[in-house]
Symmetry: C2
Subunit: 432 residues, 2 copies
């Protein structure tokens, strides 16, 4: 996406005739937006690269600190390094967040405080060209990523304002939410949590973390392989995205004066990595996973009702409720095992099972619409790469297919949820 200034845009938009644009498309320029076609004719000058000259090597960079106790469990934190524009926000901000986090962990390592798990600090190339750097890496090293990566933290355009926002796999949301209590808000006197609460509703239950859409480098980790992922950021309503205004000058004077959001996001990411890398049992909340997913069943119900299909979703709700209960039982067993000083070799076995939970909400053949998208938990909306769709195999059957396909997809999803629950139960058994 390349934005255009309003002065240029009005020259095109004002000359469009035809039907009025839908209400949501009407922008701020002082005339009725219309959808065309014509009568304005647009000449687009395209400078394209062809042949061998169009091939460019891309480079991901890696810094690795090997874990002391669980070296085969990897926490990956990454940001794309390429940019459409000067990219002070998108994505110098994410890149320096990864570098600052690496600097903090390097200082700890020099002080003989190496993390228990291996931490991989990455900058990705060619994100703006289709998430290429991260996708190629995950695809090429799929077996290693599957075997080792316990969580992925993505940082993309993370400090263009002071308003906290985060998106995460449901199992990681409680961790992210908790961390906001420990970091000062950028430019204020309270914590990030306080500011979040102040800017949101006064009811804490309304402080929602988003789900991960398809617009950044977490996609290969979470939508392709089912690896728990998260992103934390501070933002604002501004128009600089992907434009020449996303510059050092803008960032310094308007976006993040004093670089306080940059500092806060690096602190949040460092804490997230520290918890993920050092907690003996991976801080993945399976009760939250089951609970949140159970909440999305009502959306399924209303999508089915809109089609006037009578397809029962009760089995899915039951399976997710049982998964949440298994998650609660696990958490209780975990807490008492940790109080009893769980040996590391036992913890590693528990973690191997925990790693399976969300991986089991994938299927090898992926979605009918997009085989690469193996997650049955979330996908980007096939019509909008930035937005998220829960239960995509079922929702796409509702949108594109028929009741019997939807029913079959529901049964398949229930089967995967049951397998994920079994992994939680195995994790609980491994605690003993």
């Amino acid at each position: 996406m390349i934005p255009m200034g309003y002065g240029n845009a009005r020259r095109f938009l004002a000359k469009l005739a035809g039907p009025a644009a839908p209400e949501g498309w009407q922008g701020g320029l002082p005339f009725q937006y219309r959808v065309g076609p014509g009568p304005a004719r647009l000449r687009l000058k395209v400078r394209s690269e062809r042949g061998a000259g169009a091939l460019h090597p891309i480079w991901n960079t890696f810094g690795i600190i090997r874990g002391t106790t669980y070296p085969d469990e990897w926490v990956v934190v990454g940001a794309h390094r390429d940019a459409w524009s000067p990219g002070a926000g998108d994505n110098v901000s994410g890149t320096v967040t990864v570098l600052e986090t690496a600097r903090a962990f390097a200082a700890l390592a020099r002080a003989a405080l190496r993390p228990a798990r291996t931490v991989v600090f990455v900058t990705w190339d060619a994100e703006e060209w289709g998430l290429m750097g991260s996708t190629e890496w995950v695809e090429e090293l799929e077996d290693s990523v599957n075997a080792h990566v316990v969580a992925y933290i993505n940082e993309d355009d993370v400090a263009s304002g002071t308003r906290f926002a985060a998106a995460a796999s449901p199992s990681l949301k409680p961790l992210i939410r908790d961390l906001t209590h420990y970091v000062p808000e950028p430019g204020g006197h309270g914590t990030v949590y306080d500011a979040w609460l102040r800017e949101g509703l006064s009811d804490t239950s309304a402080l929602r973390l988003d789900n991960l859409g398809g617009g950044s480098d977490f996609a290969a980790f979470t939508h392709h392989l089912g690896i728990p992922s998260a992103s934390v950021s501070f933002g604002s309503l501004n128009g600089v995205y992907h434009s020449m205004y996303d510059s050092y000058a803008w960032m310094t004077r308007f976006g993040d004066r004093g670089y306080r959001a940059h500092r806060a996001v690096a602190q949040l990411v460092s804490l997230a990595v520290a918890r993920l890398a050092n907690a003996p049992i991976l801080p993945l909340d399976c009760a939250a996973l089951g609970g949140e997913l159970a909440g999305y069943v009502t959306d399924l119900d209303s999508n089915l009702a809109a089609r006037h299909w009578s397809v029962p979703t009760a089995a899915l709700l039951t399976a997710l409720t049982r998964l949440a209960a298994a998650g609660q039982a696990f958490a209780a067993a975990r807490d008492s095992a940790l109080a009893d000083d769980l040996p590391a070799v036992r913890a590693a076995q528990v973690n191997r099972w925990l790693m399976q939970v969300e991986r089991r909400l994938t299927r090898p053949q992926g979605l009918v619409s997009r085989p690469w998208n193996r997650s049955l938990e979330f996908a980007s909306d096939v019509d909008n790469g930035y937005s998220t769709m829960a239960f995509p195999s079922v929702n796409e059957a509702i949108r594109f297919a028929d009741p019997s396909t939807a029913e079959r997809e529901l049964a398949d999803l229930v089967n995967h949820v049951d397998q994920a629950r079994e992994a939680i139960e195995q994790a609980t058994a491994a605690l003993r």
Copy 2:
């Protein structure tokens, strides 16, 4: 190892004085062998490569047929392609065995009979320089090899005579033994089994398959990662090993006239790959694994007795007996599940557990003597790379350490055997 003709050898051996050589070192030359030192002085002319000129690229070659039903389960069959000498036996014979097997599977694939599992046909480079080609590949792709390889068949110097010999992981021995009933003996009128029986004792129980030592490319698969491996071959007592006599002329006139052993070994390997690639449940015999390993406990006992240590091995024997019983229970459950037409998705889950069984007889830190050797089941003898040692962690503690170390290693081994048994039990549960 580079052999020397007797005419040259006698010029050195006859001039050695000093104490008489141990009985086992006395060779066929007509004088008393002595161990020196001197008085003969030997001038060895060494032409060594140094610097950049000493670095040579090595090349492994791969041919892959993707499986139809279980593409993520790989059967690997390989042979080293390099040689010390002309290498008609070592290892043109193994190389052409792999190529012939590939040719057979390619013909089947062209006839739309592709294998259910993926089959990988490999020729390794630099085996004679320290198993380099296979080791580098397995180490570099460790996660993929761990995730996918169900068995490895190695072919090294396999047709220098007509006497059948085979070595295999205990879980693969029943398969190999069975296949000998289906292949004609080279140059005879019966089967390979008949010839084996005739040349061996008349008691079939004496037809033993060897265990895998450290001298060829199976080492990275089985001793490093615990992947079931096997090797079948035909041989003879001959002196050409690693000499200039291991040539086309020798092979054609003496080693394998008419290339009948070559043909038989290719047939055996093709059958082994076909069974491994097509049986819905992997043909790994866990009862045989437990039974054979239980037999080696008496060797441990006598090694302990020789040291006059009182270290009890009863727990190991119990654990192995239970593993064998779990293997029998699995086999019974498998047979009835197969009779009921087990769905492929269920079979894949069973196979994932079966793949874990021997992998669980490894430990990440390996042996005290050699961390690379992760298998607790077998290792090459640290003093003789060609011979095999069962229970190496315990046996090396007996040889090099003290009773309490031996006791600790025994307890660790029992723990791994129990974990392997749990994998068998999970496989049984997955059948239902």
